[in-house]
Amino acid sequence: MKLDRRFLLRGTCQGAAAAMALPFLDCFLDTNGQALAATGERVPTRFNTFFYGLGLTKSLWVPKTAGLNYETTIQLKPLEAFKKKMNVFSGSRVMIDDNPNFQHWSGVGASATGISPSKTGLFDSKTIDQTVADVISRGSRFKSIAAACAGDPKQSYSSLGGANNLPAEASPLSLYTRLFGPGFQDPSRGDWKPDPQIMLQQSVLSVVAEDRKRVTQNFGASDKARLDQYFTSVREAEQQMAAELKRPDIEAKVTIPTAPDEMVVNSALPNMRLVLPLMARLGALAMATDQTRVFNLSISEPGSQMFVPGDPLGYHQSTHEEPLDPILAYQPRVARYNVYSMELFAAFLTELDSIPEGDGTLLDHSLVYGFTDVAFAKIHALDGIPVLLAGGASGRMKTGHHIVGDGNPVSRVGLTVQKAMGLSVDSWGGGSMETKSPYTELLA
């Protein structure tokens, strides 16, 4: 039995609403009085992004050989455990066309949308996670979730386009509350039943959504678009409630922990090392219990302010002010910060890989798009911007490769991602970065 909200509101349940509680619930039970149960659908493929600022050091991260069985490099060392479960892309280009190189932004926009941004701080289209979510998130409670491990809700590179970035949860506690606070029901428990409260809230949303028809004033183009966005958000809330009325199809073998404590969340590396695993774990559990299928985790702003206590410069200032070591020919302090970023990425993957699911792990049923803002932070260079892609996308992505981009646009990776996620899309990106060529050798 497929439940449709309109049916519930306007159909037989509307009558039942008058008598409240129990008859209410009957709408959700099958003829045997069981809550609607798993339909035996296969585990969904999830999509994740991981954003870290300031890139990596070319001479230390790019493997010497292309293809399979490349030798792990110094800066990829923290990810060695996942070598067979990921692909690394070197030599990708960001083509800015007629736009300026917006420092620490052009690379973010290009990686996340395939389009060179026309303004700093704004995305010229919806970001890749939202494009993927449009297709894969149907039926899950949250279309997507973003979390920022340095404590700033603005550190989200998940956007509906324009200025409207989806704010990130900025502490483990707020992430927990959003995912597992009020409104959450553990699907692994035997006594799962829909909450009749939700039906009432749906009626409220229905009135709010219908306000759209009551608008009588004339709007200019941009304000009309903003009002449309508001009503799209209302519709998404309606979809969330519809999902909450239905027991997730998935059988998760996980336990939801109790709420984490309040903690200091900022750009100091020791704090990030405590916060990231907690956030990653919560995101992984949310995906395992099908609360969401898209999870975006960031560790910094594009010009990362990460700092090791005692270092008066911190990461971003170091990239600009630390001289190149005359013998090593790179910036040693910056290189250490690069490695810290990869260690945090590895901690994220570890959490995804620790949840068993069917014949593999959550990571095997996911794709994780790791991206950054620059190739060489010292001079804001964009050519060779690193992209790291982890997870097997439920077998649709071949892994273990080092792909040498050879000056190809970074958007080729994004298109490959969308193909692996099952989107029917032929091209992606804009301007010189518009591409119709995914890395077909990676697609199974």
């Binding site: 809230q201 206590p309 600009h320 002010e321």
Partner: protein, 542 residues
């Protein structure tokens, strides 16, 4: 049966509310749509329902545009994440308002039966709160939909107040509450003017940072705000209230970028005295000093750059190096001339917000102060600058100044650094958390600077330079105008705030004169109608 009652009630209500609305908002041009800021939302709820109604939830962040977060409210929308939060807050507020404890005070009528719908009573409640929340009367349809919702929910639950709760929650998460929708109607000739209710909102959020009170709404309804005398009467009333402090605190917080503190971290190893409490106190110190000078003393705003007066608490006293032997939490303090402090530019807030976690930054300080006080933003540096020399503290160049100067010998870099650095260099006598210091890496710090042909020494010289710079008060006027209208300050022309600025300078730069001059000038409610989205822009037709 109850349907007939409803129609009758609605008719009475709608007639009472709508018939006198001059050029009603039902058919105007929307000229601005501003998402409520967190503080505007909180203040509005407190004023409508009382301070004991808890508002718990996360608000979507704004962005700073042209130096003001207020400008971003006019370009941001509500994302699904934001709506989820607004929706939960709406329900939580509605539950509190209709609770047994609060309903006696907040629900103005009693239902005929507590277990049955009472459309007359619910229409009265929604009509009243709808007007307060939407800042204009509800349309008949808006009201009727809520009355119907409440009746259905009452029938479902067997409780009148449960019905009220859901109806109220639907108003609280409506776009008409979450956005301040400013509507303009044709004025004399070709131009457009804000309608009466939009005027009331603009005045109220500017002056008090909250929703219009009953008297202001009445002045809108009677179109008193349409006449110069009526407008002046309301402006005077708003400005005479102590609540003007709240409104101007919100403005100065935005202009001085004090929200930046939310994301300032300092290196705890190098600066163990830094704490969240210290940051909060530093922000409060600056607001107290500013409001005291600008409003309570009706002082010359230029003196904000030079005044020795401030307020401190125990945390701040430790950084300023002054004893604190008081029982009160906050006490006034006059810095002695020898302490090298000068107005708010040398307060802990301004010094620490624009510095690195472990080190002061003359460039960041200079760039920020030029932008905040002189409305002169600095362009971003070229992409391929070599800053290495700035960092090498082991070399012969010991102080930041020496290293910056070396870097600025490059012609491209110099064009900007001669613009922004002098201000920052004159503040090098203070470290990244605002403590006074005389040396850096063992070398005495030179705090002399030359900018735009004027030479000065140290923070006190800087304070005097800003005090005497006519760009500073002009910048205050520009920012206030942009804040009030929700526009990018870089897009504003001097003529837009000419009348207000004249009142400001004629008064010897008193903030009250600027405010009054602005609110009463003809330009303030002038609007350019938007270019329509398409021929059929009415959303109803889609």
């Amino acid at each position: 049966m109850h349907k007939r009652v409803l129609v009758a009630v609605l008719t009475v209500f709608v007639l009472a509310g709508m018939s006198q609305v001059p050029a009603s908002s039902a058919s105007g041009e929307v000229v601005s749509m501003r998402r409520l800021t967190e503080q505007e939302y909180r203040n509005s709820i407190a004023d409508i329902f009382g301070k004991d109604i808890a508002v718990q939830g996360v608000f979507e962040p704004g962005k700073r545009i042209g130096g003001l977060v207020a400008a971003s409210a006019a370009i941001l929308s509500v994302t699904p994440v934001g709506f989820d939060s607004y929706s939960k807050m709406a329900d939580s507020i509605a539950v509190q308002v209709t609770s047994e404890k609060a309903r006696g005070r907040l629900v103005s009528c009693k239902p005929a039966s507590a277990a049955q719908p009472d459309d007359a009573c619910s229409a009265q409640v929604f009509g009243h709160y709808g007007l307060m929340l939407f800042r204009r009367p509800l349309t008949g349809d808006e009201l009727q939909s809520r009355v119907k919702l409440a009746a259905n929910m009452t029938k479902a639950s067997g409780d009148f107040y449960t019905g009220l709760r859901y109806g109220l929650a639907s108003l609280l998460q409506s776009s008409n509450f979450l956005f301040r929708i400013e509507v303009a109607v044709p004025g004399s000739g070709k131009d457009y003017r804000l309608d009466a209710y939009s005027r009331a909102s603009r005045l109220s959020y500017l002056m008090w940072d909250t929703t219009p009170d009953a008297e202001l709404l009445k002045a809108a309804q009677s179109n008193e705000l349409g006449s110069p005398a009526g407008l002046a009467g309301q402006v005077d009333r708003l400005m005479a209230s102590p609540r003007l402090d709240t409104g101007m605190r919100a403005f100065f917080s935005d202009m001085l970028q004090l929200d930046t503190f939310d994301n300032v971290s300092k290196d705890a190893l190098l600066y163990p005295k830094w704490s969240v409490q210290l940051a909060a106190a530093a922000r409060e110190e600056t607001l107290r000093t500013t409001i005291d000078l600008a409003l309570h003393d009706n002082g010359d705003i230029r003196e904000l750059m030079t005044t020795p007066k401030t307020y401190i608490n125990r945390n701040l006293a430790a950084i300023y190096g002054v004893p604190f032997n008081f029982d009160e939490e906050w006490v006034p303090l006059d810095f002695a001339p020898g302490q090298g402090r000068s107005g708010i530019v040398t307060q802990i807030s301004m010094l620490s917000m624009f510095s690195h976690p472990g080190r002061s930054s003359p460039t960041e300080r200079g760039v920020a102060l030029m932008d905040i006080f002189l409305c002169e933003p600095t362009p971003t540096p070229p992409n391929n600058v070599d800053f290495s020399i700035v960092n090498n503290t082991d070399g012969p160049l010991k102080t930041v100044r020496e290293r910056l100067m070396a870097h600025a010998t490059n012609a491209i870099c110099a064009s900007c650094h001669t613009h922004s650095d002098p201000i920052g260099l004159s503040l090098e006598g203070f470290d990244t958390i605002g403590r006074h210091r005389g040396t850096e890496n063992g070398q005495a710090i030179d705090v002399s600077a030359t900018i735009q042909g004027k030479s000065f020494v140290g923070a006190q010289g800087l304070g005097r330079f800003l005090h005497d710079n006519p760009k500073y008060p002009a910048c205050v006027a520009r920012k206030l105008y942009s804040y009030a209208k929700g526009v990018d300050s870089q897009d504003v022309e001097p003529k837009d705030f000419k009348v207000a600025y004249k009142a400001f300078s004629d008064s010897g730069y008193r903030m009250r004169s600027l405010l009054k001059g602005m609110a009463e000038s003809e330009d303030f409610f002038h609007a350019v109608p938007p270019v329509a989205a398409a021929k059929s822009t009415k959303l109803a037709s889609q």
